[in-house]
C-alpha cells in the first residue's frame, strides 16, 4: 500500500465515514445519539475498543496465514473482540469506577457493534501493515465519534421542535441521518 498515513486517517474518518457511508454501527448511532454527553462517551469507548481490536486482528491474521487456516478468520475475530470488550470493562472498573458507571450498559453492547468487526475485516482486505492499521482504527473511531456527536447535537435541538405524529421517532432520525450522509459526500473531493 502506498497510501500515506494522513490519507488513511482522512479517508476513514471523513470520506468513507463508517456510519454515514458504510452504514456500520447504525444501531448505537440511532440508539445512543439522544444526548450529547452520552454520545461523546460512547464515541470514546468505541474508539478505544476499535484500536485494540484492530491491533489484535493484525496479529491474528498473520497467525492464521502461517498455520494456513483462513476459514477461522471470522470466528477468531469475533471471539477476540468479545473478550477485548470484557477485558476493557474489567480494566476500566478497576482503574476508574467513575468512568465505568458513566459508560454503564454501553460497554458490553460494543461487542455487537458492526463497525468494529467491519474495521477488522476491511483492514485485512486492504492488506494494511501494523502502523497503517493503527491509523485506520484511529480514523474510523474519530469518524464514528464525529457522526455520533453531530447527530446528538441535532436531535437535542429537535426535542423542542413541533413534529407531526407520524414522523416521530425512528423515521425522523433516519431522515436527518440521510441529510448528514449527503453532506458528508462533499468530503469526497478531499481524496484527490
Amino acid at each position: 500500500m502506498n497510501d500515506s498515513l494522513w490519507f488513511i486517517f482522512i479517508n476513514a474518518s471523513l470520506i468513507n465515514n463508517f456510519v454515514l457511508a458504510y452504514f456500520l454501527g447504525i444501531c448505537p448511532f440511532l440508539g445512543v445519539s439522544g444526548k450529547l454527553e452520552t454520545a461523546s462517551r460512547m464515541g470514546g469507548a468505541v474508539t478505544f475498543v476499535m484500536i485494540i481490536a484492530s491491533m489484535s486482528a493484525y496479529g491474528i491474521h498473520a497467525l492464521l496465514i502461517t498455520i494456513n487456516a483462513p476459514f477461522l478468520q471470522l470466528i477468531s475475530y469475533i471471539v477476540v473482540i468479545a473478550s477485548t470488550v470484557q477485558l476493557v470493562e474489567m480494566f476500566i472498573k478497576k482503574i476508574s469506577p467513575g468512568l465505568f458507571r458513566a459508560l454503564g450498559i454501553f460497554l458490553p453492547l460494543i461487542t455487537t457493534n458492526c463497525a468494529i468487526l467491519g474495521l477488522a475485516l476491511f483492514q485485512t482486505n486492504k492488506g494494511y501493515g501494523f502502523l497503517e492499521s493503527f491509523v485506520y482504527a484511529l480514523g474510523a473511531g474519530a469518524g464514528f465519534t464525529l457522526a455520533l456527536i453531530l447527530m446528538a447535537g441535532l436531535r437535542e435541538q429537535l426535542d423542542l421542535a413541533d413534529i407531526p405524529n407520524v414522523a416521530k421517532g425512528t423515521a425522523l432520525t433516519l431522515l436527518i441521518a440521510g441529510i448528514l450522509s449527503l453532506s458528508f459526500m462533499g468530503f469526497a473531493g478531499l481524496g484527490g
Binding site: F71, T112, G118, G178
Partner: protein
C-alpha cells in the same frame, strides 16, 4: 411400524400448522413484529446492500439461512449451554453458520460475493440473529424455533426487497437488471447513494406509521 410413526408425526405437524402456535410464530415475524419496520433491528445490512433488488434478495436469503441454522442449533442445545457463557456460545454458533454461508455464496456466484463484500461476514453482528437466539430459541422447542426463524427471516427478506426494489427502480430504472422505466427517464443517482437508503427507509416507516395511525383513528371513531 416405521410408516405409522412418520404418519403420526406428519399428522401432528399439519395439525399444529392449522390451528395453533406454529402458524402464529410464523406470521408474527412476517408482519406484526417485522424485524426491520417494527423492531428496527439489523439496520446495517438493510441499508448497505439494498442498492439493487438482486443484492437485497441474496442478503435476505443468506440471513434467512443463518437465522434458521442458528435458531435450530441454539434451541436444541439450550439445556446444555451454561447460563454464564450463553452469549459467547451463541456468537460462536452464529459465526460458524455465517462462515458456511460465506463460502457457499463464494462457490455459487463470485460476482454476487464481490457485490455484497464484507457484509456477508457482518451477518455475525446482525442484532436480529443474536436477538432471536437470546429471546426465542433459548426458551422454546426446536420446531417452534424453526417457525420463528422462518417467519423472521422471510420478514427480513421482505423488508430488504421493499427497499431494494424502490431504490433500484428510481436509481437505475431497472428491476432485477431488466429495464422497467422508459429510456427517457433520468435516473436519480441519490437513490443508490448511501443517503438514498436512509431516505427510502424513512419514507417506508412514514407510510407504515401513517397506516397505523389511520387504523387507530378508525378504531377510536367506532
Amino acid at each position: 411400524m416405521e410408516i405409522q410413526t412418520t404418519e403420526k408425526k406428519k399428522g401432528g405437524f399439519f395439525e399444529s400448522l392449522q390451528n395453533g402456535p406454529a402458524t402464529d410464530e410464523f406470521i408474527k415475524g412476517l408482519w406484526r413484529e417485522n424485524p426491520v419496520f417494527v423492531q428496527v433491528l439489523g439496520m446495517c445490512p438493510t441499508l448497505a446492500v439494498t442498492n439493487s433488488a438482486e443484492n437485497a434478495l441474496a442478503m435476505g436469503l443468506a440471513t434467512l439461512f443463518v437465522l434458521i441454522m442458528s435458531n435450530l442449533l441454539v434451541s436444541s442445545l439450550r439445556n446444555f449451554i451454561p447460563k454464564q457463557v450463553r452469549i459467547a456460545t451463541y456468537i460462536l454458533i452464529i459465526a460458524t453458520c455465517v462462515t458456511v454461508a460465506d463460502y457457499a455464496i463464494q462457490a455459487y456466484s463470485l460476482d454476487l460475493h464481490k457485490a455484497l463484500g464484507a457484509f456477508i461476514a457482518l451477518i455475525v453482528v446482525n442484532c436480529l440473529i443474536l436477538g432471536r437466539a437470546e429471546a426465542f430459541a433459548s426458551k422454546n422447542t426446536v420446531s417452534k424455533s424453526f417457525w420463528d426463524a422462518l417467519g423472521m427471516g422471510l420478514g427480513f427478506t421482505f423488508a430488504l426487497l421493499c427497499l431494494g426494489v424502490v431504490r433500484e427502480i428510481f436509481g437505475t430504472g431497472t428491476l432485477f437488471g431488466f429495464p422497467v422505466l422508459p429510456g427517457s427517464f433520468q435516473s436519480w443517482i441519490i437513490m443508490i447513494l448511501p443517503g438514498g437508503g436512509l431516505f427510502t427507509l424513512a419514507i417506508w416507516l412514514l407510510v407504515f406509521n401513517g397506516a397505523k395511525e389511520r387504523k387507530a383513528k378508525k378504531a377510536r371513531a367506532l
